[in-house]
Amino acid sequence: MLDPEKIVKAAVKLGATDAVATVQESLTRQSKFVNNEIEVQKMWEEKEAELFVAVKGSIAIGMWDGGDLKGFVKRIVTMAKLSSPNEDFKGIAEGPFKYRKIKDSYDNKAESAPLVECANVSIESALAAGAERCTGAVYADYWKTSMATSNSVYAEDQGTGLNASIRAFCGKGSGHSVSISRNVKGFDPASAGEESGRTASISTNPSQGKAGTYDIVFSPLAIGNLLDNIGNALSAFSVESGYSCFTGRLGKRVASDKVSLSDSGNIAGGFGSRPFDEEGLPTKTTPIIEKGVLKTFLHSTSTGKKSNVRSTGNAGIISPRPWNIVVGNGKVSPDRLISGVKRGIYVTNVWYTRFANYVDGAFSTIPRDGLFEIRDGEIKNALQGLRLSDNILNVLQNVDGIANDAKQVKWWHEVLTPVTVGHVLCRSLKMTASR
């Protein structure tokens, strides 16, 4: 019964007033390397079904991955019947819809990409650029998704993804880079290796950084982490519950006028691109912040109806989410950004971002890998031991330059939603250090 239309039919027959079934079959391969050698190779074959059911507004959500599917559907509908209505739920999208294929999102060569070779190429490039050892992983993903809803939606898609993440070490220094692509043509593990190795080789003798207020130039990977967090805070679910620093700020200036940010579910080659969202609405590109002004939140049909706006194609029926966060290319080169900094810090990566308060935006994150002093417009010595402790709205409001080297990044759970952005200069952010 792994057919979404059959699943929806069964759910409706049992009493569901709304039903959405998504079936995904996937094959994932990984070559993981540690200290310059392949450590383990893995392969996962999965068949999963996700079911959203509402019975007169009472919602139950199910994830199935093996076992009695018919019995599972029955249980989900029963759970919905036994619980109470979600007054915030205003329905699902009414289809049918036509979908456009996402350009550059499937490549049959990616399915059989030689991962060991890709890993070795990445390692060799890192070593050639000055690294002593490297650790990381290369992935190849294939998936086939089909979806049906009780509102006449049927949709299908298949996609591929290649992902290389490499961290290079040299003495006490390190550098991290990624290459992600939906196809073989755009996949460049060698460049990721070279970048990580180069960063590692010039950060070998870091000195302890001093706490203070600095102008900060973030690499795409570093600013991608913060933008990923910002993307989550722009979901209507977070906003309308009050749990977002953007609550109450629609139409207001939330960033410097140099910042324009979109979510794009249908961008060509977008690692998160998909033709339809989780209720079958075609995805699109939605400008969220335009020249610093907050224009919209991310909506599903239900959250949109509650706010009297249209869906932005970002279901998550209950909790909308971003697909690809796109800041795009700025006007100047990264070198030009750096040359405009008298006293600052260049951050190539951050990790472990945590919030003291999601409502007011206070957070901290730890610069990791190459971290460098900038003095009088030039990158100087490597640093260590600093923590960026500031407010996420300050980060946006203090943007003073975006470079023209936009790159798509996604990394582990630190940059979970793919982000396309170049280097970014933010003025006057606080760095703290252990005392």
């Binding site: 996962w44 093996g66 650790t135 991290h176 409502v359 923590r387 252990s434």
Partner: protein, 465 residues
């Protein structure tokens, strides 16, 4: 499922694996989430499958599928064997397991899966009614009831069958005073049955925390700056032990296996027997704690679990080891290998990590502070990826003067090195409290259910910001 896992192991051996293991898991979780009083959804997830790991001529392969038929099992084994064929300078080795055969499970007097979803929703709604107020405008309450069944076999003759039910509860509240807010997130969890909710005390806990945070917003006193004494609660002690003793003590992390994602460690081979803290500090990790969220009796490599002393009287004593990591250290596994599902390889993980209690009462510790801060809970924390520079931003905190609590202080920040943290502790209380967590590690990410905890601990001469 015993037949199928044994079949996988035997087939892998026939096909040339020098070592093979197979792990069947079936998981079922149901639960519910309330957001500001609205039942957002009830949830059910159910899955099962088999993962096979092999060594072939020193290379390692892992394959899995949700299809547990015999036909699929053959494909999984073939894939794992094929994947293991990689050239390595150094062959991967595993320290031996004893090939034990055992059935074990966490005790469950009332099976959570026999309790209807209506009752589980009522539990949340009752709690919501008890805590909602105009000064707590944002309330997320989420509960889940998990059941895990596992059948594990390896080519050394091990056959381990287990069942572990768990309950996890997360709450997230925002307290408001005018335009000002404080955020509080926490987690409760145990291994066991529905009866554990009988005395969980969540209504009193959340109300007390909300009241304290409101007080903090309304009338905060000034926290002392500069060097001061800080009395940290079991919650702070627990997270610190997890982050700066457990994680850096993971053998695979020390060897660089997680370097690209979760990071490396300040610890190394030469740290065993070295001092990291005062004599008052002993940190253990113990999977065998009954009802601990990280409870287990055998790990996912078939090794019997025991308590591990990570730090004893201030000295680094033992690392957490899997069968693979232990080889490099010339030792044996201490049963620290866990996988968070059938499709994931086992990694070195913590279980229930805590500081051992001391000899003092809370009042004695408090009485010995002339000027300082009591940090009862934290709102923000992080630590660098070598586990050396750590930060805790206090949530419910109080000024201490001459051994007495004087009033609330707002978001004092403790930002210090791991050595400073453990060295500054001069005494611990007799209390022992645990908190739940989901620890993240691995690529792909594996979330492992854990406990963290400890006593109250007094830190001398640390710097607050």
């Amino acid at each position: 499922m015993e037949d199928i896992v044994s079949f996988c192991v035997e087939l892998a051996r026939r096909k040339g694996a020098s070592y093979a293991e197979a792990r069947f898991e079936a998981d079922e979780t149901d639960g519910a989430m309330l957001k500001n009083g609205t039942l957002e959804a009830t949830e059910l997830s159910k899955g099962s499958g088999i993962g096979v790991r092999v060594l072939v001529k020193g290379g390692m392969g892992f394959a899995s599928s949700s299809d547990v038929s015999r036909k699929s099992a053959k494909e999984i084994v073939d894939n794992a064997i094929k994947l293991a064929h990689v050239q390595r300078k150094t062959p991967i080795e595993l320290s031996p397991s004893r090939g034990e055969k055992k059935k074990w499970n966490a005790k469950e007097r009332i099976k959570s899966k026999d309790i209807g979803i209506e009752e589980k929703v009522s539990l949340l709604k009752d709690l919501e009614n008890a805590i909602k107020s105009p000064s707590v405008p944002i309330r997320f309450l989420q509960i889940s009831f998990q059941g895990n069944e596992k059948v594990y076999a390896n080519s050394e003759g091990a056959l381990i069958i287990s069942q572990v039910p768990r309950i996890e509860f997360h709450y997230n509240i925002v307290v408001r005073n005018g335009g000002d807010t404080e955020n509080r997130y926490s987690q409760w969890g145990k291994s066991g049955g529905y009866e554990l909710l009988g005395d969980w005390g969540m209504e009193e806990k959340i109300n007390s925390e909300a009241k304290a945070l409101l007080q903090c917003l309304r009338k905060p006193l000034k926290a002392p700056k500069g060097k001061t004494d800080v009395l940290i609660s079991p919650e702070i002690v627990g997270i610190a032990c997890h982050e700066s003793s457990g994680h850096p003590g993971e053998g695979d992390r020390i060897l660089g296996r997680e370097g690209s994602q979760a990071g490396e460690s300040y610890l190394g081979f030469d740290w065993l027997g070295k001092r990291i803290g005062s004599d008052a500090v002993t940190v253990v990790d113990d999977p065998t704690l009954e009802n601990g969220l990280g409870f287990y009796l055998y790990d996912d490599e078939g090794v019997r679990a025991r308590r591990r002393f990570l730090i004893k009287d201030g000295m680094i004593t033992e690392f957490l080891q899997s069968r693979q990591s232990s080889v490099a250290f010339g030792t044996e596994s201490n049963a620290s290998a866990r996988a968070s599902g059938y499709s994931l390889e086992p990694l070195v993980r913590m279980a229930n990590t805590f500081m051992l209690p001391g000899k003092h009462s809370f009042d004695e510790l408090l009485g010995g502070i002339r000027k300082g801060v009591l940090m009862k809970s934290f709102t923000e924390w992080n630590i660098d990826d070598r586990r050396w520079n750590q930060k805790y931003t206090g949530s419910e905190c109080y000024l201490i003067e001459n051994g007495e609590i004087k009033g609330s202080v707002r978001r004092p920040v403790l930002e210090l090195t791991t050595k400073s943290f453990y060295s500054s502790i001069d005494a611990c209380s007799r209390d022992l409290e645990f908190f739940a967590g989901n620890c993240g590690k691995g690529d792909p990410m594996q979330g492992a259910p854990v406990w963290l905890g400890g006593p109250y601990a007094r830190m001398r001469g640390v710097t607050l910001a």
